[in-house]
Structures are given as C-alpha cells and as structure tokens.
C-alpha cells in the first residue's frame, strides 16, 4: 500500500482535532460536522480495537482475513504502543465505546471523556512528533558497500 506517513495526513489530524473539540465541547461545531467527525473516529478506533484484540489472542490469520482492521491497528500501534504499552488494547476499546456513546448522545461519564481525550491527544502528539523528527532527504551516494 502506497501510504503517505500518517504524520502528514492532514485529514487524520483535522479529524482528531475535531474529535477533541467535540469531547471538550469547544468551539462552534455544527451537528453535521460533529457526526461526521465522530463516525470517522468510531470507525478508526473500533477497527484498531479489533486488531489489538486479535494480536492479544494470537489470531495469527487476522491480518490476512481482516486487512483494513489490521492496518488501522498498525497505525495506532506504531504511535501509541510506547505511551500505553500492554494497556493499549483496553485504551482503544474504551475510547471506541466513549466515542460511540457520544455519537448517539448517550450519557457518558466525565472520567471516560477525559480518558478518551487523553488517548486522542497522545495520538496527535505522536503524529506531530513524527512530523517533527522526520529527517530531510539525505544526500544520496551510489556505490557498493
């Protein structure tokens, strides 16, 4: 798959920022935009949570059988594994549940909202860090050895 680095994905960053704005009730965000943002985030986190569970359960054919979910999880694993370690699976699952509840305007506890916001903020920070540390094109050298 020819991918641009997720750290350069403008749409992903804008979706995450939009999600934070919804969770924190910040700024004027119309209903349509709110729903679209939450739909995208729920899709992202639910597939990632599935992927994480498959890895934990050592379902080793998961990548073959559910490629999109595996790829979603791969992205989040890359950027969040160091922050959350072995709790990543739980964090993804809980974030997904919170976002889904927000989408349907079901009651959500303040603690759950804050945890989801933390996951999204860490993801955004990791993306920004990824963009910041991406090296410039190195000088090329063509030789053996």
């Amino acid at each position: 798959m020819l991918q641009l680095s997720p750290s350069r994905d403008v749409g992903l960053r804008q979706t995450l920022e939009g999600g934070l704005a919804v969770i924190r009730n910040e700024g004027a965000i119309d209903e349509a935009r709110r729903n679209v943002t939450l739909d995208r985030l729920v899709e992202l986190f639910s597939e990632a949570a599935n992927g994480s569970r498959a890895i934990e359960n050592q379902n080793l054919l998961f990548a073959t059988e559910q490629q999109p979910a595996f790829e979603r999880f791969s992205v989040l694993f890359r950027y969040l594994h160091s922050a959350f370690g072995e709790t990543l699976s739980t964090q993804l699952s809980e974030t997904n549940d919170t976002l889904a509840a927000l989408r349907t305007r079901s009651p959500t506890e303040a603690a759950s909202l804050e945890k989801a916001a933390t996951v999204i903020e860490k993801f955004l920070s990791a993306l920004q860090r990824g963009a910041a540390v991406a090296p410039l094109e190195p000088p090329r050298e063509f030789r053996f050895g």
């Binding site: 991918q3 804008q14 979706t15 890895i55 080793l60 998961f62």
Partner: protein
C-alpha cells in the same frame, strides 16, 4: 509579516503545481486507460482545496494560531499534490510501450478488476502493484468540490502497476504483470488454511528457539505480517501461472536471474526457489502437462532451472537463519525461517483456491496445455520465419492471438529456436542479442496488431 510571506510562497507553489498538471494533461496516455487523467483530477482537487485554506487564512478575526494552521495545512496539501504527481510519473506513451496497455486492460477486465488502474514504467528492475488508497482525503475540512468529485470518480483503492522501463522492459517478461494483477484480486481468493494451524504451533517452537526467548507482541505482529504477505505472493504466483502458463514461469525466474538471484526470502516474499519449485511442479504434472507439450514441439524440457540456473537455493534452516540475521535482523530472520514449513504446506491449498476462483469467475482466461499445444503448432514455425503471431485459425474464422498465446510462443522461440531468427540490423549487442531484438520486435508487433484486430472485431 512572516505568516504573509509563508502564505505567498505557498500560493506561488500551488500555482506552479497547477501549471505542471496542465502540462501533463497535454501528453498522450496509452490505450483506453482513464486512470492517469482521473489521478490528475485528484491533484487539481487537492490544489484547489489548499488554495481555499489560504483564502480562509485572510478571514478577519482569526487568531495567529488559526492563521498558521490554515497556512501549514495548505503547505502540507501542496506537498501531497507534489507527491501525487510523482505517483503517476511514467504513465505516458514516452515511457511505457503503448502496445501492451490494451492487452493488460483485457486481463484487468477479464479478472473483474473494476478499480481505477494505471500502468507505468520506472527505470528500476522491479515489477509491482501499488495500492493507492487516499479516500481519507475526503476527511479534510472544507474540501473543494473538485476534490470531492475527483475522489468519487476514482474507484478505490486505485491500482498502479509498474513495469521496468527501457532496456529491462522486455516483452516476454511482461507475463509477470499477470502476477501483479493477481495481487489486485488476492483478497477475493480465500483458501481454507485452518487445517494447517497445528503446523503453525510447530513453527512457533522453532521461532522461539531461534529467538532464544518467548514470542513478544512485536514478534506476533511480525508473524502476522509475514503470513499475510507470503499468502498474497503465493496467490499472485498462482494467478500469474493460471493466466499465462509456462510463460509466467519463464518470465518471473528469467527476470530474477537477471535482477535478483538471491534467496528472496524476507518480510514481503517467500524464498524464490520455493516459488519456482511450486510452479514447476504444476508445469510438469497432469495427464498432459505443459512440459510434455513444450518438449514435444521444441525438444526442450522445462527443468526447474531452465532459464534461471543461478537463482540461489536456500541452505538448511539454521544456516539460513544465520545468513539472514546479519541482513534483516535476528527477530525477522527467526520468523521467516521458522515459518518455512508452514509456507510449504499451505501452497497447495492456495493454488487450489486460486484455480477454483478463476474457474468460477473467468474460465476463459485460464491458459492450459491444450491451448499451448495449439499455439505452438500454429505460430512457432511462422514466427521463426519472421511472421508475427497476430492471429490464429482454429478451423473457423481467424481470430486474434491472445496475449498469453503470444507470450508463450515468444518464449518457445527464445528458448529453442533463437538461432533460426535472423538478427536485427544495428550497432548494438552481439549476434544473439540482435536475434533476440528481432524476436522482441516481432512479438511487440504481434501484440499491437492482434489488439487492433480485437478492437476491430468488437466494433463490428
């Protein structure tokens, strides 16, 4: 002031990108392939969206932070547009032989691939299919209508097939495109691999032995990746084989003889010698095998290394692990070597599933020994008399030769009759090379004229 300078620079950049796209629209793209123009429409959509952000940055009442965000997002979109133009480089008729696009598109249509696709040549010894999935471009804030339209016009994920350009763009090797198109349908081929899970447990023991520890989350991730990638390569090999028969075998391993004689094993591919053995087994088995037919007409037996004698065979597993560790790291080497027994076992199931899938969806595309026998009888001798294999007469009215037929007859001539072909004129290459160049030109002419004949028949 600084923000204004950045905004102006970005505006200039976006304008130049639009100008570049306008120039690209004037070049000719081969065949009936709409893919490149659809891709350029996407680039225009990105640029207009970026220009929209720069306009919004001028809105009164914005904070400096909000202004900067619009400018940096516009800069990032400009960077995307620049990369996207590069993605489509090599698609015009100055780069890729236009004669082959028509037959490639027939394979695409026959296999039921309806995604946006385009073919390009790159000056690298590489064949590949790249999946292009940028539907998430629709997620950007305030997309220009042209971007929304372009995203909807493309059937995602789009596909880009790359073939080697110029000297290494040898027509007989283009049978490998059958393998690349196999990747396009790999997710539709669903072999039942559940009987082999017990073998996986044995493989895990070996992986632990090589690692000297238990399997971590990182290792599990790596194992998933290798299993998926190797499955996909076997599927693509199977599709290439079923589409083109022995020509695929000759093409893939002839190409690797020239461009990559190593073990081939790694995260993305199973060992090359294993892939060769698996296809060779199928070429030589059956009540009437490809090998029997080929031998009868050409007197050349299709041995496993008939045109790839220097392709390395993998050593014993422990040595392979040692050799690989230095190059790709011990963790990856442990997974690749540990999974070899699993790869050997699942290959039959994957070939069978690929065969079943193709028979169920496009049986007319499958190349079989009877067709090879007919093709060699009808076209090999004339080809050696410099008559390009354009059409065949099966007792009814003449019909255009298929791309698979042309490739197989071409390989038969290359491997068994090259000295019968008079050399091309020209200052380059020895006499053998000039004979091969003559043959290459004849085959290219056959592809062009048989395609023209097909189009003519379809419009009658």
């Amino acid at each position: 002031m600084a923000a204004s300078a950045a905004s102006q620079a970005c505006s200039f950049y976006l304008g130049r990108l639009e100008s570049e796209v306008a120039r690209l629209r004037t070049v000719a793209f081969p065949g009936r392939d709409k893919g490149p123009q659809q891709w350029l429409n996407l680039v225009i959509g990105i640029l207009r969206t970026a220009n929209g952000y720069l306009e919004r940055a001028n809105n009164p009442g914005l904070t400096p932070s909000q202004i900067s965000k619009y400018i940096t997002d516009a800069e990032d979109l400009g960077a995307w547009a620049y990369q996207f133009i590069n993605i489509a480089s090599g698609t015009d008729i100055t780069q890729i032989p236009e004669q082959v696009i028509g037959p490639f598109l027939r394979w695409v249509k026959g296999l039921g691939i309806d995604q946006t696709i385009f073919f390009r040549a790159e000056h690298l010894p590489n064949y590949e299919l790249a999946w292009l999935d940028f539907r998430q471009l629709a997620n950007v804030n305030f997309p220009d209508q042209s971007l929304t339209d372009a995203i909807q016009d493309i059937k995602w994920p789009a596909l880009r097939v790359t073939v080697p350009a110029q000297a290494m763009g040898m027509l007989p090797h283009f049978a490998v495109v059958g393998h690349e198109l196999g990747h396009a349908i790999q997710n539709l081929i669903k072999p039942d691999l559940s009987p082999y899970r017990a073998t996986l447990n044995t493989c895990f023991q070996e992986i632990r032995r090589y690692l000297g520890r238990d399997i971590s989350a990182d290792d599990s991730f790596r194992i998933q990746t290798v299993i998926k990638n190797w499955n996909d390569e076997f599927k693509a090999d199977a599709v290439g084989y079923f589409l083109v028969g022995p020509a695929f075998f000759f093409a893939l391993f002839g190409f690797l003889e020239l461009a990559g004689r190593g073990y081939g094993i790694g995260l993305t591919h199973p060992p090359s010698d294993l892939r060769r053995r698996l296809i060779h087994e199928r070429i030589t088995k059956g009540p009437k095998s490809f090998n029997e037919v080929f031998l009868a007409k050409t007197t050349i037996a299709i041995t496993e290394d008939v045109n790839s004698p220097h392709l390395l065979r993998c050593p014993a597993p422990d040595q392979l692990f040692g050799d690989l560790s230095g190059e790709i790291g011990a963790e990856t080497a442990a997974v690749c070597v540990g999974l070899l027994p699993y790869a050997e076992q699942i290959a039959d199931a994957i070939f069978a599933a690929s065969d079943a899938y193709l028979r169920g969806t496009c049986p007319g595309l499958i190349y079989n020994p009877d067709v090879l026998e007919f093709d060699l009888a009808a076209m090999l001798d004339p080809l050696c008399e410099l008559i390009p294999p354009i059409e065949v007469d099966d007792g009814g009215s003449p019909k255009p030769a298929s791309f698979a037929s042309i490739l197989n007859v071409g390989w038969a001539a290359l491997l068994s009759r090259i000295n019968s072909v008079s050399p091309a004129r020209g200052p380059f290459g020895d006499e053998t090379a000039r004979r091969m160049e003559r043959l290459h030109d004849l085959l290219l002419k056959a592809v062009e004229l048989s395609e023209a004949r097909s189009l003519w028949d379809e419009q009658k």
